[in-house]
Symmetry: C2
Subunit: 206 residues, 2 copies
């Protein structure tokens, strides 16, 4: 699956200040959802909190030219559907695995972007005691949630991925990610507090 | 970094039997080193032992055409150097991360295929308590070793990756992988016994 992140226009807000925390999300900084995740991963890596990377886009290479005196040039290739999730890595010995999706809708998250292979992969990861979840961004609402993979899988299986997931379900089973500080999207803090039940990350903070 | 696996020609051996264990490696089955790793990962996944995948080849996409009535076609792209390793996943809660290299040489493994970014990545993974190693295949000798990343990093730092790594060093600090059974390359058994000190995998076997 290939993400074409919704370009969020940079908004210039006169009301931004450290007191209006709700208003200051990554979109206000001119950042897309995907960029905010990458930015957070860079932050975690630089601070020694975690090693989490986005996997390369899967591409089926059909034809490669080798022009003289220059590097190999791929001249025919196609996007392949990903069989796993987009992000994975390690946090304090724990295997971390997640997918990110965004929508402009206000009341639900379309499920059509989750493929059955990805759902199966998440299930396999949980069976191996990996930490697995999805990050769901509602761009119009400016709200981002971390939903454990178990809750996603449960919902997916009810109608085999054909029904949109109501935001009420996400609010009930997931955790909202507070924004406005650094990193842009502090999802590991949510993992630590709600999925691992500890405060390792807090302790490593300066 | 892009691997162009050395094609191992299928050898037909009249001496193959379950008693001549040393002779029966994946090359005898017409399998390349990379194929043997993928085959083992498929085996581990199917048996519920681990979820380990090869990451897609990193490609920098420059131009995409959208022909009518057909899917997007990439018409200009280039191979990018990988900043991480080729394989990662989860095994019984443990984060697993490794790179695979092969050589036809008999006495040492060239270090030029390990990039400084990869060495740095391995170091970061170890700091996060991930399980990290390299699989080294000597195709002429028909021997494959698992070398812990710590030993690779130590050697790399002595001469900044400029010196080949003698097979004696690998034999001293690594573990030979016994071949001839299933999966083709039972590297997780080596991880379990020597890096984790347990026998979880043995216990899950039928």
């Amino acid at each position: 699956m290939v993400n074409y992140p919704h370009q969020v226009r940079k908004k210039i807000s006169r009301t931004n200040s450290k007191f209006s925390r709700q208003q200051v999300d990554f979109a206000n900084r001119g950042m897309s959802f995907e960029a905010a995740i990458n930015d957070s991963n860079t932050y975690y890596l630089a601070h020694g909190h975690a090693v989490i990377h986005k996997k390369p886009t899967p591409v089926q290479i059909v034809k490669v030219d080798y022009p003289r005196r220059s590097r190999a040039k791929i001249v025919e290739a196609y996007f392949r559907q990903a069989s796993t999730t987009d992000y994975s890595g390690v946090y304090q010995g724990h295997y971390i695995d997640f997918e990110a999706k965004e929508t402009r809708q206000k009341t639900s998250m379309p499920m059509k972007n989750f493929h059955s292979h990805q759902i199966e992969h998440m299930d396999q990861v949980l069976q191996q005691r990996g930490i697995c979840f999805v990050l769901l961004h509602f761009s119009t609402l400016k709200e981002t949630y971390l939903l454990p993979a178990s809750a996603l899988i449960d919902f997916y299986r009810v109608e085999n991925g054909k029904k949109s997931m109501p935001i009420d379900y996400i609010r009930k089973h997931g955790f909202q990610i507070e924004m406005g500080g650094y990193p842009s999207l502090p999802y590991l803090e949510v993992v630590e507090k709600n999925l691992l039940g500890g405060d390792t990350l807090e302790k490593t903070k300066p």
